[in-house]
Symmetry: C2
Amino acid sequence: MSGEGEWIRMVTARTPTNIAVVKYWGKRDENLILPINDSISMTLDPDHLSTTTTVSVSPSFDSDRMWLNGKEISLSGDRFQNCLRELRSQASDFEDSEKGIKIEKKDWEKLHFHIASYNNFPTAAGLASSAAGFACLVFALANLMNVKANQSHLSAIARQGSGSACRSLFGGFVKWIMGKDSDGGDSVAVQLADENHWSDLVIIVAVVSAHQKETSSTSGMRETVETSALLQHREKVVVPKRIIEMEKAIEARDFASFAKLTCADSNQFHAVCLDTTPPIFYMNNTSHRIISCIEKWNKAEGAPQVAYTFDAGPNAVMVARDRKTAALLLQRMLYYFPPQSESDLDSYVVGDKSILKDAGIVGISDIEVLPVPSEVKDRVPPPPRSKGEVSYFICTRIGRGPVLLTEDAQALLDPNTGLPK
Amino acid sequence: MSGEGEWIRMVTARTPTNIAVVKYWGKRDENLILPINDSISMTLDPDHLSTTTTVSVSPSFDSDRMWLNGKEISLSGDRFQNCLRELRSQASDFEDSEKGIKIEKKDWEKLHFHIASYNNFPTAAGLASSAAGFACLVFALANLMNVKANQSHLSAIARQGSGSACRSLFGGFVKWIMGKDSDGGDSVAVQLADENHWSDLVIIVAVVSAHQKETSSTSGMRETVETSALLQHREKVVVPKRIIEMEKAIEARDFASFAKLTCADSNQFHAVCLDTTPPIFYMNNTSHRIISCIEKWNKAEGAPQVAYTFDAGPNAVMVARDRKTAALLLQRMLYYFPPQSESDLDSYVVGDKSILKDAGIVGISDIEVLPVPSEVKDRVPPPPRSKGEVSYFICTRIGRGPVLLTEDAQALLDPNTGLPK
C-alpha cells in the first residue's frame, strides 16, 4: 500500500429496483438467504426508481461509515458484514500509478470504506429500496475492490445482503435460481431477456398511503415458513410450474399469459401471508379497490389489458400491455383516486410524464372531468372518488441493469474528504 | 282431502344461525350442494340470531307464496323447489279430526303453501341468514307435512337449500359430514356436543360496515374451486387433520387449541379466496384491525383469550374463553371502535347486555374514558379511535337447535286468511 493517507479511491454506481412477477417468499437458509423457490422479476427503469451509491476507500479512513440519503447509518449488521467478507475474499490487487494508488489483495482486509447512498424515490414507500441498495453496494464495491466476477457471481453476494437484491444485478427480465448447494454458490440471478425484449410494456406504480405499520418481509416470511399450511404446496407444486409458464410467456411476449400468471402469483403470495399465524396483511382496502378496478376492466375487454402485482406492502405495480393501454389505465387510476385538493399534478404523477400527456391530462381540472370508465357505465354507480388514498403515481418501464457513473459530479462523496458532499 | 276450502293448517318454528369454526368452502356437486370437505360450526343463541318461520297449507291456497321480513319474494328458485320436492316425497298422511283436516300423502303434491319468515337480525348483514332461513323452512315444513325423519335426515334436505343450513338443525357444536354418496344421502349434519357442553364461552359479533358489494358465497366458492391452486391442498390435506383436532378440542373444552384452529381456519379460508382468479376479498381494513387487536392481546397474555372467525363478509365473530374475558374484549372493542356520536349505547351493543354491565359500561361517556388496553401501553401509540367502522356489536352465546313455537301469537300468518299478520 503506497501513498498512505494521501489518496481516496472512489467508485459511483447506479442500480435499479425490481419487482417480482413470480414471488420470492420463504428462506431455506436464513443466514445465507437461500430461497425455497425460484422467482422471476422485472427490472424497473433506473431513471425513475434506483439507488445511486458512491463507495470510497482510503488509508486515511479509520472506520467503515455509511450515509443513506444524507443520514449516517450503522454498518454493523450481519447482512452488510456478510457481503463485505465475501467481497474482500474475492478482491484483487489494484494499481493506479497516476494517482499513486497501489492496493494489494491482503490490504483489503485492513482498509476502511466510506459509502454514501441515495434513492431517487422515498425509502419508506416500500419500493424495494433494500434490493436496489444492496445490489448497488455490492456492484460498486466489487468495482472498487477489483473483484473479478461476472454479474451472476456478484448476484450471489448481493443476495446475502437482501434476497431480492440479486435480481437487481441485471436489466430486463431476471430469474433468481434457488439453487441446491448448501453454501448458496448456485443461488444466483440470471437474465432471461434484456430491457429491449418487450419494450411495449408500460409500468405504473401506485404508491398507496399506509396507516398501519407493516410486518417486515424478513420476519413475515419466516413466520409464513413456520406456520402456513399452504406454503409447502405453493413452493413444491405451484411455483415450479409457474416459473416454466412465465419464462415461456416472457419469451413469446404473450401478454395474456404474463398477466394471468403475474396477478395469480401476487394474489397467492398474499394468500400465504394470510394463511400465516398470526396472519399478515400487506394489502389494504385501496389495494383491493385497485385490483377490482383492473379485474373489472380486463373482464369487460375480454382479454387482459393490465397486470398487477403487490409486494410486501399496499403499493400496486401495474403493467399495461402498451402505451395506449397505459394512458387508459392512468385515466382510470386518476378517476378513482384523484389527488387531494392541495396537490399539484406535477408531484402526483411522476416519472415518464408522456403517459399523462397521452391520457390528455395537463392539469388538475382535466381529472375532475374524466368520464366514468366504460366498464362501469350502466351498472352499479362508481364508488366515491377517494382523495388521499394514493400518495402518487410513478410512470415507468422496464429498464437496464447497474451502471458505473464516471462523471465526478455524480459522486455522492467529496473526493478530498471522503465525506458526503 | 276433506273440508276443502275451510281449513288452514299452520306450523311455526324458530331456528338458529351458525358460524363455522372449520369452514365449508367449495362444492363437489353444485345442484345437490355437496361439499369438498367436512366442516364444524357453533350454533348461536336463537334469542339473538335466529329465523322464525310460519308455514301453512290450505286447499284454498292456489299458489306457493312466501314473505320474508314482510316482503313477498319468489319461490321459483331451484333451491326452494329441491327442498320442497324432497319433503313432498317423504310426507305422510295427516289428520286432525277436531279441525276437520285430513290430508293423504298423495295430496301434498297438489297442495300449496303460504310461508312467512322473519329474521331477528338484519338480513343484509352477512350473518348466515340463508342458513337459518332454509333450516327453519325445512324444519317447519317437515312438521307441517308430517315427515318422519330425524334431524340428520332433515339436515340433508336443508343442505339442498343452502349448504350451511344443514348445521342449523342442531344446537351446540355441529359437524357437517361431507359424505361420499353421489346422491348426497350421507352428506348430513350431526351434533358433536350440545349447547350446555361448553357454556363458559361468550360470543361477540362485530357487524362491520361494508362499502363494497361482496361476491356471493355461491359464486365465490365456485370460482375458488375452478381457479385456486391451493384449495385442493386445503381440502385434501389440511382440513381432514383440522377436523380431528377440532373435535378433540371441543370435547376436551381445550380453549387454546380451539382458538388456534378457529383462527387459522378462518384465515386459510380467506387465503384461498385471495388465491382465486379474480381474487375475492371478504375482509376489509376494519376486519384486519380487529384481528390485529385480538392477536396482540392473545400474545401479550401468553395464551389465547379470544378466538375470531370471519365468514363471507367483513363481520367478526369473536369467541371469549369466559365471561370475564368477554367483558375485557368488549372494553377493547369499544375502545378501538367507539359508536358514532349520534348512536345510543342501547342500539350499539345488543343481545346479552349483561356483558356490557360486566365491562362497567352503562353510558356512552364510559366508553370515552376507557383506558388504553394494557398490551399497547408503552409501545406504539394506539391507532386513532374510528367511529362508524363497526355498525353494532351483538353479545351472545352458543345456543340450542330448532324449536316449534306453539303459541298462536307467535305465528307470522293470520290463521284465518293465511296472509301475513
